[in-house]
């Protein structure tokens, strides 16, 4: 392995894992599996956060009154399909969390991606953005699980953070592009949907305290801030995953804090992807350091001793 200077936190881990010793490959695979479990845990959090509602809605109301719509094939109108699609990921995801392994990770990722896709095109779930972010995050998880073995862990470390950023950016690009319309830029859509209609805090209090002009101004400011924030998150794809994934996590947590905890059902899977991508990066740095140490020991040409390299805060 040459002791050249790869970009920090991006490529070194994969190169060393791909061409390194069996021990390095095994360590890389461990890293990928750890990243997978962290991402899966947040994916499951998002899936479960609205469980009390989904238990009533998918488990009771959908059976009590089924819908019939000419667009949908029978299977995607059947309440049993949506009920099963909501439950299978709980079992498959739980299995992958408590019985870790490459095979269980692949099985779980395939199951939860397929179930999110089913709910996304089912009459009982098509409108919930939870299933959209769960689907795209599931694709990333499936890709990661396919690369969780010793042979392919290097590829996961090299491409995982960039693909994670791509998934997150895509979700917010869709959000911001669809709001590039006069009704959002003027704040009218937000004014009507939230400031006038919402019965939950803080909107009733705002209606009591503010004039119509004041509410409209607030709506305009919030609406433009939302469009710009989503645009910023989409634009992060142009930057290095090393800090862009961290920035994305903080911004997404901020969005949840500023709106409602229920939004975690939409953000949870994306937070999982960001967290998983960051874990791959962090371990890439450790791997990079180890690679440099190995190179220094092997070549004996380094200007500083191996021990100094290993403890250098600059690496």
């Amino acid at each position: 392995m040459p002791a050249s200077n790869p970009p920090r936190g991006e490529r070194a881990g994969s190169a060393s894992a791909a061409s390194g010793s069996p021990l390095a490959r095994r360590q890389a695979a461990d890293v990928v599996q750890r990243a997978f479990r962290a991402a899966l845990l947040l994916w499951m959090t998002g899936w479960l956060i609205k469980a009390p509602f989904f238990l009533c809605y998918l488990g009771e109301w959908s059976f009590e009154v089924a819908l019939e719509h000419p667009l949908f094939p029978t299977v995607f109108l059947d309440p049993w399909t949506s009920w099963a699609a909501y439950f299978v990921p709980l079992i498959a995801g739980g299995l992958a969390l408590f019985r870790p392994g490459v095979a269980t990770a692949r099985l779980a990722a395939a199951a939860l991606t397929a179930c999110a896709a089913v709910l996304l095109v089912h009459v009982n779930g098509y409108n919930d953005a939870t299933f959209l972010t769960a689907f795209w995050s599931g694709v990333w998880l499936l890709w990661l699980a396919l690369h969780a073995d010793t042979q392919n862990a290097g590829t996961a470390e090299r491409h995982g953070p960039r693909l994670a950023l791509g998934v997150i950016a895509l979700m917010f690009l869709g959000g911001t592009v669809g709001k590039l319309t006069a009704e959002y830029w003027s704040g009218e859509a937000l004014y009507q949907t939230y400031f006038l209609q919402k019965q939950s805090w803080p909107y009733p209090a705002l209606r009591q305290a503010c004039s119509e002009e004041g509410l409209r101004l607030m709506a305009k400011i919030c609406s433009r801030a939302i469009v710009l924030t989503e645009g910023l998150l989409a634009g992060l794809v142009l930057f290095r995953p090393a800090w862009a994934l961290g920035a994305a996590m903080w911004v997404m947590l901020g969005i949840v804090a500023a709106s409602t905890p229920w939004l975690l059902s939409v953000m949870g899977p994306l937070l999982g992807v960001a967290r998983g991508g960051r874990l791959l990066l962090k371990t890439s740095r450790v791997e990079q350091l180890a690679t440099r140490c190995r190179a220094a020991v092997t070549s004996q040409t380094s200007e500083v001793g191996p021990l100094e390299m290993c403890t250098s805060p600059h690496l």
Binding site: L71, V121, G178, T193
Partner: protein, 168 residues
């Protein structure tokens, strides 16, 4: 799919989705197709399902009108804001009294399909009339539906109707 092809395939998928999303503001036909799909309208289910994968979280300016009577221009024009009524507490009582309208953050049909309102509409025992409208950069898509209770199911049927903007 082989592991060796999974990575380029994922990059291609993401790139295609990025390009498709970025192209939306410049393609009126695509805007119409996407807004129609959010009203549960498409030429076929596979086409609709493929549009569902396009990320459009909380997109477009969306409104819904709901009434126990056919949505004539007069009823659409006189619709009361749903938030200012007892609709949440007693939708059937409210429906008996008039026509209502509200803005939705996305997917206007979810007012009926998602959550518990479908049970109340079923118990009503009579058809309920809906109009959905979505706007994006001057494009407007409108859909009229009839929800009919029948044998344990709520049947969605396309209905004829006037545009809510006809009288403006």
């Amino acid at each position: 799919m082989k592991v060796t092809t999974a990575t380029p395939a994922f990059y291609v998928l993401l790139s295609a989705a990025f390009a498709s999303t970025l192209w939306l503001p410049f393609d009126p036909a695509r805007q119409e197709a996407l807004m129609s799909s959010r009203h549960l309208r498409a030429k076929s289910f596979p086409e609709w399902a493929s549009l569902q994968l396009v990320p459009t979280m909380y997109n477009f300016a969306n409104r819904t009108w709901i009434s126990a009577e056919p949505l004539t221009p007069a009823r659409l024009a006189a619709a009361a804001p749903l938030s200012e009524t007892e609709f949440n507490r007693d939708p059937l009582g409210a429906l008996a009294a008039g026509t209502y309208t509200c803005w939705m953050n996305h997917y206007p049909p979810r007012l009926i399909t998602f959550g518990g309102l479908r049970r109340r509409l079923y118990r009503r025992g009579e058809p309920t009339y809906f109009c959905f409208q979505s706007r994006f950069r001057g494009q407007v898509v409108e859909s009229h539906y009839l929800a009919v209770p029948h044998s344990g199911k709520l049947l969605f049927r396309a209905a004829a109707g006037e545009s809510p903007d006809a009288g403006k």
